[in-house]
Symmetry: C2
Subunit: 202 residues, 2 copies
């Protein structure tokens, strides 16, 4: 019988070896610990490796790069928020009318981005593109809301238009350099949202 050449079928999850899984866990919690205790800047690949008791090469095999590791931490950080959107109380969660959900989305996303600012920037740092998974959830939800509101136009682009001003780089410039208050920015986002959804279908 010829040797088998199982090319991994797309979507079929490739079993992770037990030691690999164990190390992934150890690395993630070591990294999280470092973030909590000393801040994002202190998260050195050597430090994480040492703290998790594995070699440096292992860290890079698992996460590709420092940005990749940060993205993994970011995924964990976002899990709560995503849960609140999917099944939390209104108006952020389901149950409220779409417009209220939209406004709650904006406010909440603004705060979430500010909370995770350091992590988000670190996850973007040398990466050619941002972690798509994290971004994708919010964008999809936003498109859904715009559709519910029967907004006319290119929904995908309008969703981007609403997410873009909440980008961390922009928020930090507004707050730290131009001295704007978070309240003002939040109010501005609501205004933008209203202008965008003013044009309806039908």
């Amino acid at each position: 019988m010829p040797p088998r050449h199982d090319l991994p079928i797309l979507g079929q999850d490739v079993r992770e070896r037990s030691d690999a899984a164990r190390n992934r866990e150890a690395l993630l919690s070591a990294a999280q610990e470092l973030v909590d205790r000393c801040g994002v800047e202190a998260v050195t690949m050597d430090a994480v490796a040492a703290s998790a008791g594995v070699g440096k090469g292992t860290v890079f095999r698992r996460f590709r790069s420092r940005a990749g590791l940060m993205a993994a931490l970011l995924d964990q950080f976002e899990a709560d928020w995503q849960a609140q959107v999917i099944s939390g109380p209104p108006p952020l969660g389901p149950g409220a009318p779409p417009l209220e959900r939209l406004l709650a989305f904006g406010r909440s996303r603004l705060e979430q981005n500010l909370r995770g600012a350091a992590l988000i920037r670190a996850a973007l740092d040398g990466a050619m593109t941002r972690n798509y998974a994290v971004y994708s959830f919010a964008a999809t939800h936003l498109r859904y809301l715009l559709d519910e509101l029967e907004v006319a136009g290119d929904i995908a682009l309008l969703a981007t238009d609403l997410m873009a001003p909440l980008e961390v780089v922009i928020l930090q410039q507004q707050i730290e350099i131009e001295g704007m208050s978070v309240e003002r920015i939040a109010a501005g986002w609501e205004d933008l949202a209203l202008r965008i959804i003013a044009r309806r279908r039908t």
Copy 2:
């Protein structure tokens, strides 16, 4: 007579020593040369220093960091565009009605950001905040146009809302990952602009 302690008065330009000026020139053109011949990634601080015939420390004194050097190159890159806005032909330059200038601004800015993408990302890389000078010109002009159009609301924030979707990180995601065409994005920007300026003062 006691030694003089001239604290530099703000706004009074501190004379640059002749050797310093010479080296700045040499460094900038060496860096530009490297960008042109080998791309942004090839611009190593050592390479620039060697190519300009100065020590590495000098590069860092002048530009603080790699991001700072890139920002300086970006300033040069933007000079042409700024000139076109200030005194070029309409509709980008003065002379056309504000709405036409606004639409020309969006299209032109979109293309400019794509052209300078690599430089812009490199200039943002490890920096705590983006190069303010470059950003500031475009933002100021945009606020002026919105004001001319008698747009109601928080003009500064609305200007940001219009600049944000043109951010390189976002454009690259749309084009390279989501596969959108530049044409579609440009059309989407016009649509956004029209929605935003729909609410007028008076």
